[in-house]
Amino acid sequence: MVSAAASGTGKRAGERAVLATLAVAVVLAFAASLLVGPAAIGLPEMLHAIFSGQADIAALIIREVRLPRAILGLMIGATLGLSGAALQGFLRNPLAEPGLVGVSASASLGAVLTFYTGLSGLFALALPLGGMAGACIGVVIVQSLAGRDSSPLTLILAGIAVTSFAGALTSLTLNLAPNPFAALEIMFWLMGSLADRSFEHVWLSAPFMIAGSLLLATLGRPLDALTLGEDAAHTLGFNLRALRHRLVFGTALCVGAGVAVTGAIGFVGLIVPHILRPVVGHRPSALLPASALGGAVLTLAADVAVRLLSPGRELKLGVLTALVGAPFFLYLVLRLRKQLL
């Protein structure tokens, strides 16, 4: 009895240590994101700029340029990690990622349409608002396609259908773009970036991301119960249909708001839960907070990397995550294949 209690407490302490380490990493990555950029600003000046309220150049750069960028990186990374972990838990598939439910593609389409119609030129927030409208329409279609049952398979199929169709419409929009510059602008935006975002973007997306994260954060126990399959989860007292609704809407709020302000940033939601799963003992509930922190670290670090790698002509963040993420995905496939043999 004593040894059992001790081993249980040991596990909890181990999980807390993982979360504490990740939280420290988030703080460091956030500070690095504030410190790295074309203008050389040291740590004391950076702290002074944030807390003093002065209006010199350094303070303006930190408060108006780097702070919103770092906050967005933190929020988007955290929500991508969290929704990736939740989706992998629900679908019981380590290759699932937030884009799978069709929200990313439909948010992209919504944003691209504001380019095409010229709305984005009329007022700055048209672009993110269009993205969110796209995400909302996408999620309603996915939910109605997936039907009333709680099966993961119908959700995947509905997500694939919406993703392909939204992708086709995005291509059509590019195809019909009024001029090459418009097409290029759309292409660049689709690549995903945190550059040149302001606090307006933060205020616009934060409420949705916080609401979505709260929805997803409560899913730990039903996801744990799903470890033994749907019948087991059901007879342990969980309503799987309600679980799927909360999962899809939570993911839509998080990812839709994220894509709307930054474009599509891939692979974070796939890789982070996968790396952290063994660290938290494979428990889906423990993976949720860990993946949120891990996603924030990875996104902030990648955003610092794009600034360091090519200072003049900045790499797009989405390009970097895909460049690093795709080989990692291949590695996952190879490792899974080995396990199956």
């Binding site: 009895m1 059992a4 209690a5 081993s7 249980g8 909890r12 019981r92 126990r221 744990d224 119960a225 799903l226 470890t227 033994l228 399959g229 019948d231 087991a232 059901h234 007879t235 342990l236 007292g237 969980f238 309503n239 799963r277 063994p278 003992g281 494979h282 428990r283 889906p284």
Partner: protein, 266 residues
């Protein structure tokens, strides 16, 4: 005391009726063996009793209350369902997996309580799996996995256990172990329904057998009555050797026979 009562239950899977007007009662303290040929609807009946399938007609009551009127969590506290097979999708530790059985009882805002830990510890010891509590649940032999899943069900301290072929694929030693655990649970006052195919094992460990055939319970009662030559011929289409050893009935299937008149009339 009656724990569960199925009253004129009809269930369809898709458009195909699987159960039609079935009646069955489970009392506290008894092990009921649910037997019958493949495809007779044993799993369907078990899933309906666990509240996993909607009924076309009839009613299933748990402790006198209709199943659909009982909220999920209360039902989960009364009843444990042990599905056939049942792989762990993630490589969680054996102990973590057994702890899942405590989910219906746990405080939503806190970690496992002392009661939860004690129940898990008891289940680990009862199923003889405490020595590999830290092993990943995906790295277990068939016998180990069955005991782990049984421990998960026992950890919830269920008043009623519905076990679907818990001894399928086990060696004789482990078959005896698992059946003995089910008897212990019944001895402690719970009701147990166990689906099985080994008729001798069923006769040895069950107080009562219910033979599912042609969408309803075709025979019900003590093993001697249910496993009679005429019933086996009618429902399974077999001729069997009937004997006994140390007071236990032994039934060894010998050959296929033509289905009896009961089968032909369907």
């Amino acid at each position: 005391m009656t724990l569960m009562r199925a009253n004129a239950v009809s269930v369809s899977l898709g458009d195909a009726p699987v159960l039609a007007g079935l009646d069955l009662e489970i009392a506290a303290g008894e092990v009921v063996g649910l037997i019958g040929p493949n495809g007779a609807g044993k799993t369907t009946l078990l899933r309906a009793m666990a509240g996993l399938l909607p009924l076309d007609d009839g009613e299933i009551c748990v402790q006198g209350r209709p199943l659909h009127r009982i909220d999920r969590v209360s039902l989960a506290r009364m009843l444990a369902y042990l599905p056939q097979g049942g792989d762990s999708h993630w490589a969680v530790s054996v102990e973590t997996l057994v702890m899942l059985g405590r989910l219906p009882h746990r405080d939503p805002w806190h970690g496992p309580s002392e009661t939860d830990r004690a129940a898990v510890e008891q289940a680990l010891v009862a199923c003889d799996i405490a020595q590999f509590r830290d092993r990943p649940a995906t790295h277990l032999s068939g016998g180990e996995r069955t005991r782990v899943l049984l421990a998960r069900a026992l950890a919830g301290d269920p008043g009623l256990l519905l076990a679907d072929e818990p001894v399928a694929g086990l060696d004789p030693g482990h078959q005896l172990d698992v059946m003995a655990k089910l008897r212990d649970l019944a001895g402690a006052g719970a009701g147990v329904v166990v689906v099985m195919h080994d008729l001798t094992l069923a006769a040895r460990f069950c107080d009562r057998l219910a033979l599912l055939h042609d969408k309803r319970i075709a025979a019900e009662g003590s093993p001697e009555i249910v496993l009679s030559p005429s019933t086996l011929a009618r429902c399974y289409g077999i001729r069997a050797y009937h004997g006994s050893a140390e007071g236990n009935a032994i039934v060894v299937p010998l050959e296929r026979v033509k289905p009896g008149p009961g089968h032909a009339s369907t």
